[in-house]
Subunit: 234 residues, 8 copies
C-alpha cells in the first residue's frame, strides 16, 4: 500500500485530466487515451504530457482524422490508422516480437476488419508478433478448416465477428489456447448493433472463450498481449 | 370468398371455444389444441369434438400428464409423450411416409431433446418420414462433420439449439435445403431463456435459415411438413 | 468429409476476403456479397473474382448507388435496383421459371415495398416465377380477402409487414403452404424499428409460419427459392 | 378547487390505508381495492369501511381464494369469481343495463378467458349490458367473420389476446366503435409474458385502438364502462 | 359476410397501393394515408384517388413539407400543418361540432405540443369540438388544479406527456370521463425515447386510462372522436 | 492515505468474509450485513464479530425468519421485523432523534408498506426521528393534498411507489426538500417488477428527486439519514 | 390547501406555456426552463416572463447556441456555457456561498466534463460553494486516493461517470456524506448510451448512493443544493 | 483437416449424446458434461463412457445432489461439491500444480462464493495451483488494498462479483496480469439477475479485462487454466 501511495506523485494534474505516468510502471505500457468526447486541445495536451515523460509506444484510441491532424502539428512523429481510428507513436525500439508466441486475429467477414485492425495494431504496439486471417466465417466451414494449421500455431486467438458471432464457438472448440471474442456491430435488424453477437459469444458452448465489449478491438489487443506475456517471469 | 363464408358452418361453438372443423379442409390436418391455460374439462371437450368429426391424427400440444390422464378416461386411444408434452391420436392409416422426402431433426445438445421430440412427433403425425441426430453441437465440429451424409440425404432440416445456437449457421452453410432453426431455452445467465439463441439464429450469416419461437418444436414440425409437401400437386 | 476438404481449393484468398467459389457447387448459386461495411474497392474485387469464375447470376445485397457506380465502370453488365439496394448480374439464360411453382410476395403496406422488392428480385435471380401483391394489410380485411385466389395459387408465400405484423398470422391461417414472415422497420414509437413486428410474427397463432431478420428481404427470397426447389430431385 | 379541498374530509385514515369515500362522488363508483400484496386483515378492514359507507357495488380485484374466505366471515354478502380472481358485492339494485349500449368482450383463445371474465364482471358491476364471444382468433378468419353481426351491434369492444395479439387490428378495421385492446400473458418463449401482444396492439395499423396493461381485464372493464356512459348527460 | 365481400369492389388497385374507398362506408371517414416511407409520387396518387371518390375531409399523416409541396401542385385545396406534420383537406361542410361533447387535449409540457396539435387537428377534421390546455404538468400541481373546470366540462380527455408521464394518472383520478394517454418521446437518457412515459401510462394507478403508441397524436384523435360519437345512434 | 492504510488492521478475516470494523469510524455506523445468499452459519459468524466489536445498532437486511431464529439462539438481543425482513439490534442509547429534523416516509399504496418499513426502521436505527404517511397515491390527489402540512414539516422525504410511481414527481413539486424515490416491484404486466416505476422516477419532471434501486428501502433509509446529518458539523 | 389554491394566481398563461411564478416562493428558486423541443420564440417569451417577475438567477437548460443568440437580442444580460449547454442569468447579489458547506463535483474521465459543468454551474447559481475534481476514475485507484482530503472536506458529493460507473461505489465507500451519482452516455457498444453506468450505480454496494437520470447534470446540481440547504432552518 | 476427419472415429454415439473422446486429445482435458436438463440416466451413461475411456479428471457441471447420488451408485469414486454444484472425479495423479503460476480467485461478497468455488475447483482439477480471497468488494477499498501482495503474486486473476461488479475494474487497474471477470446473479431489483454486473464488466475502464457468462464459474476456471498454460510449449 505504500507502493500505491507513492504512485500519487506520478499523476500530472492538467485540470481536465489526471495523467497517470504510473501506468507504465504498474502495467508495462503508458496510459492509453480514449479520444472520443475529448476536444482536440485536451487530446493534444494529454499526449504531449505522455510523450514527454515516456519513451514507450503511445496510443490514442477512437480518434478522428481531425484530431490526428491537430496532434500532428505539435507531435510530428504521430501516425494514424484510419481503419483502426487510432493515433499512435511507434518508437519503442526495444520490442522483441517473438514469433513463437504468435497472436492470431481472425474475422468472420470483411466488414469486421476495422475492429480487427484496432486489435492487431494494439497488440503490435504492445510488442507482440501478430498474424491475421480475415473473412473465414462459418457459413462456409471449409474456409475455416483451411486455416487449421494457422490456428494450431497461435498462442492466443482473437475472434472478431458480427451478426450471429458463431465463429467464436467453432474456433473455441478447435483450439486448446485461450480465445478472446469480440462482437462487432456489423449486421442489421435483430443484430441490434452487436447485441446478438455479444450474447452469442457469452453463451458459447465451447469453454475457454471470454468476451470484451462490442467493437472493442483495442481491449482485445491489450488482453491478448497480457495473456501472451503471462509466465514470462519464469 | 364464398369459400370462406361456407367455412363458418363448420365451426362448432362450445362457448369457451370455437372448434374449427374447417381446418382439415383448408390445411389438410385437423385443428391442433394448445393445452396450456386450458382446464382439463375444456381440453377434453375440444378433443372429443375433434375426435368425433375427423378420422385424422390429432394433437394437443403443451399438455401436462394430468391433462392427459383426464382425457384418457373418455378417449382411450389417446397417447402421451412426456418428453414432448404432447397428447396425440395416431390413427390415420393412410399416411405414406416417403423416405425420399426425409425430414431431419438435429440438436446441438442432449438437453435440447424434449423440443426435438415435439418436432419429430409432430412431423411424424403429419405423415412424414423423419430421422434425427442429437447432440452434434459445434464445440466439437468433427461430431457434425461425421453426419454429412445424413445432412445430404435430408429434404428439410430442423436445427434445434440453445445457448449460442451456432449450429443453425453451420448447418445452413452445409446444405442447399431449407433450414428451420428452433432456439431453445437451454442455458443460463445471458442466454436469457433462449433470447441469445433466438437472436443468433435470426442473424445467421447463412442464407436460407428461418426461425420459429423459442422452444417451438411443434411449429417447426408443422412447417417442415408443409415444406415437405410443397410441389406435391405436380 | 473428403468433399469438404476438397472445397478448400475453391477458396480464393484476397487478403481481406476469402471468396468462396465452392458455394455454387454446394448450394446451386454463387456466393452473395453483403456490401454494407465494405469499401468500393473491396466490393469490386470480390465481384470481379466471382464474375470471372462463374456464369451464374450474381448478387451484391445492401449496396449503395455509389458502390454500384464504382462497380459499373469495370463490370458493365452490372445492374442496380435502387429500391432493393441491390447490384445484380442477370445473365443465367438457363433458368426455367415454372409458373406452377409460384412464389408470392405480399406486403401489408406501401412503405414495405423496398423490402419486398429485395425478396422478389432475389427469388427471380434464383430462377423462380414470382408474383406480388402489395398493400393488403389487415386493417381492411376485404382487401386481403379479395386476393384469395392468388394466395391459393402460390407454392410458397413471403409476407412482409411492419407495425404489428398481423398479416402473417392471417395469411398463415388461410393457406396450407409455408409462409415466410419478414418483419420490417416501418413504424414508429413502440414499433422499435421492427421489434414489434418481429415478436408478433414469432408468436403467430397460425402454425407453419417462420421468420427471418428484420428487413431481410434477401434472406426471405433465398429461403423461398430453397423451399420451392425442395423435392425437385424426384 | 374548493371541491377538491372538501373531498379531504371524505378520506378515512386506517393507518395502512387512506380509504377514499370521495371516489363514488367524483367517479360514480366506490373505490376499488387492489388486493395483491395486502394482508387478509388489511383487505377486510378496507372492505368493511367501504361496505359501511356506500350502497354501491364493490370490487376487490386480484384477490386470492384465501383472501375471499377470510373476508366472507365478516361480510357474508361477498361473492367470488375464481376465474376473474375477484371478490365483489353485487348489491346495487338501481343499475339499468341498457342492451342498446352493449359492451362486447372478445378473446382470441380459450386461455384468455380469465382476463375476459375480469373485464366482463367489472363492466357488469359498473351497470352495463355485456355480451361475449370467446376463441375467435385470426388463425381461422372465418370464425371471426361469423361474428360480424355481433360486432356490429356493439357500442364498445374489448379485444383480449395473447401471443401475437393480431385480433385487435382485425377487429379495429371492422368497426367504427372504439376498441380497447388487452394483451394477455398467454404464450411462451418470445411472447415474453405478454410483451409481444402489447407491442403488437400499440402498433395496430387500425386507428381507434387503445391499449391497457397486460392482463388488465379490470382496467378494460372500467374504461369500457366510462366510454359507454359518455354522452349520457345529454 | 356478404357485406364484406361487396366491399372488395370498392378497392382501387394502384399496384403499390390498394386504396380502400370502403373505409368511409364502414367507419364514417375516408382512408387516412400514412406518408412516412412513401415517395411523393405514391402519396400524390393515393390522395388523388381519395380526393376524386369522396367529398369528406382527408388526412395524410406524418407528411414532410416536401411531400406537401408536391401534392399541392395537383391538389390546390391541400393544407399543411408543419407542427402536426399533416397534409389535410378541410372541405366537409356538414360537420356539426357540438360544444356539449367537447374533446380536451392536454399536455404536460410545451415540447409535447406537436403531438397535441396532431391529435387536435385530427379530432377537428373528424367533426368534433376540441379545446386544449398545454403545459400543465404535475411538477407544479396548482397549474393543473387551476384547470379543474375545463376538465369537468370535457367529454373525452387526451393527455399527452413525455418524461415520466405522470399527468395521465393525476388527470385519470380527477375525472369520470375516459382518458386517452399519449406518451411522447420528449426527454433524454432513461426516457428511452418515450418508453418511460409509455410504461408509466400503462401502469397508471387510475382506472379508465388507456394508451396509444408513442407520439401517436393521430391515433388519439381518431379514438377520441370514435368515443365521442359512441351512443349517437340513440 | 495513511488513514486508509491504517484501516486495514480493522478488517477481521473470517475466510468467507472480511468483516469491516472500520466502517463505524469512517461512516458513523457499523457495517450492515446483506443476508441474502448467505448461509445461517455465515450470517451468525459475521453478526457475532460485529456484535463483539461495537456498541452501536446493528442491521442484517434481507434476512429470512429462518436466519433470524438461528441468530437468536446465540445473540438473544436480536430483534426481527418480518415486514421489513430485517434482523436488528437496537442498543445504542446515545441516539438523539431530533424532531426538528424529521424524515418523512410516504407510500403510494398499502402494498408498498414492506419497503417503507425497511426504510423507516433503518432511518430510526441510524438515529433519526421518522414519521410516515402510507397510501396517498395520486389517483385521488385530495388524499395527498390533505398531507401538505406533514410534507412541509419534513427535512428529507422518502417516496415509495410501484406501478407508475407518479407520486415522486408530485411530491417533488410540492417541497423544497430533497426527495429520495424508491420504486417498488408492486404491479403486474408492464410494470416489469418495478422497471416502470424506476424509469418514471428517473425521468421525474420535478428537479431534486433522486432514485435508489427497486425495493431498496434500506438504501433509502441510509441516504435519508446521511442527508439529515449533513451540516451537523456546523 | 388554501396555499396551493392561492398559487394558481401566480401562473401566467402564455397559451403554449403556463409560466409558474410560484416556484420561487415554494422552492426558493425561479422555474427552470427545459429548452429542448421549444422554438426560439417560445423560449424567449418564457424567459422574458420570468426575467420580468423575479430578481433571482435564471436557468434555461439544454439550450443550443442558436437559442442563446436569439434570446440575447432581447435579454442582453443572458450568459451561455457551451459546455453545459445552459443559458443563465447570474444576477442574484444576495447569494452567500459558504465554503464550509462545499459541494464536490467529481468525474471519472475527461469526456464526462460537460455533464459535470452543468451540475457545477447549476449548484453555483443556486447559491452554493462548489469545487471540482475531474478524471479520477478507478482504473488507477491512486489518482482517487490522492484526492482523499478533498473528499473529506465535502458536504455533498456528485459523482459523474460513464462506461461502468464504478467510481460512485468507491467514493460511496470512502465518505459519510450523501453521494449523488450521475451516469453519463460516455462509452460505446454495451454501454448502451449510459445504461451500463445507470444500472451499476443503482446497484452500488455502497449504501447512501442515489442516482439521477443519464447525463442529468442539472438535476444533480439542484439536488446537491437542496441537500446542502437542508437543516438551514435550525 | 485429415486430423479433424480422424477425430470422427473417437465419437461414441449413445443416441441421445455423441460423447467426444477426442476432446482430451485436442484440448488436454476430457469432455465436460453440462448436467442441467439431462436425466439421471443420461448423465450416468455419459459419465460411464468418459470414465471408461480416459484416466483424466472428469467434471459434470451444474449437477444436482440428486443426480450425484444416482451417479455414485455406479461410479463410486465420484465426488460432489454442493456449493459448486459439481460432480467430479479427482484421479489424475500426474498434475503438477506449480505455485509460481498461481491463479487467484477473488469475490466481492460472501454471497458470490458458490460461483467462486465452481471456478476454483475447475481450475484445480485442470491441474493448477489456485488461491482465493473472498469478500473484498470496493465499498471498503482498504479491504482490497490489504490484498495487494496476493494480487501481485498471481499469474491470472478471476474476479467474481454481483450487484454493480465494480471490483473487476479496480483490480484490472492494479495488475498487469489478465483479469477474467465473472458477473453473478447476486443482487435484486435493477441488478436484473446479473445484467448490471455483466454490463459493468463489459464496459470496464481498465483494459485487459474480459468477461464470461453470468454465474459461469466453470468457464472462468477453464479459461484461467488455458491462459495459465499458454507459453508452456517454450
Amino acid at each position: 500500500m505504500d507502493k500505491i501511495a507513492s504512485l500519487k506523485d506520478l499523476v500530472e494534474d492538467l485540470g481536465f485530466a489526471q495523467v497517470d505516468h504510473a501506468r507504465e510502471i504498474r502495467q508495462g505500457f503508458p496510459e492509453v487515451v480514449y479520444s472520443a468526447g475529448k476536444t482536440k486541445e485536451q487530446l493534444l495536451a494529454i499526449l504531449k504530457s505522455l510523450h514527454a515523460k515516456s519513451n514507450g509506444n503511445l496510443i490514442a484510441s477512437r480518434a478522428s482524422k481531425d484530431q490526428f491532424e491537430f496532434v500532428l502539428k505539435d507531435l510530428p512523429d504521430a501516425k494514424y490508422s484510419e481503419e483502426a481510428r487510432m493515433i499512435y507513436f511507434d518508437r519503442d525500439q526495444t520490442c522483441v516480437r517473438d514469433p513463437s508466441r504468435m497472436i492470431l486475429i481472425m474475422t468472420a467477414g470483411t466488414s469486421d476488419i476495422p475492429v480487427a485492425e484496432e486489435a492487431r495494431l494494439t497488440a503490435y504496439l504492445y510488442g507482440n508478433h501478430v498474424e491475421s486471417c480475415y473473412d473465414c466465417g462459418v457459413a462456409g466451414i471449409h474456409r475455416l478448416l483451411g486455416k487449421l494449421d494457422l490456428i494450431e500455431r497461435a498462442n492466443v486467438i482473437v475472434v472478431i465477428a458480427g451478426m450471429e458471432g458463431a465463429l467464436a464457438s467453432v474456433v473455441g472448440g478447435l483450439t486448446a489456447r485461450p480465445v478472446i471474442a469480440v462482437p462487432t456491430s456489423i449486421g442489421y435488424g435483430a443484430s441490434f448493433n452487436g447485441i446478438a453477437a455479444l450474447l452469442s459469444m457469452l453463451n458459447s458452448c465451447a469453454a475457454g472463450v471470454s468476451v470484451v465489449n462490442i467493437d472493442n478491438g483495442f481491449g482485445a489487443g491489450v488482453l491478448a498481449s497480457k495473456i501472451n506475456k503471462t509466465n514470462l517471469k519464469e
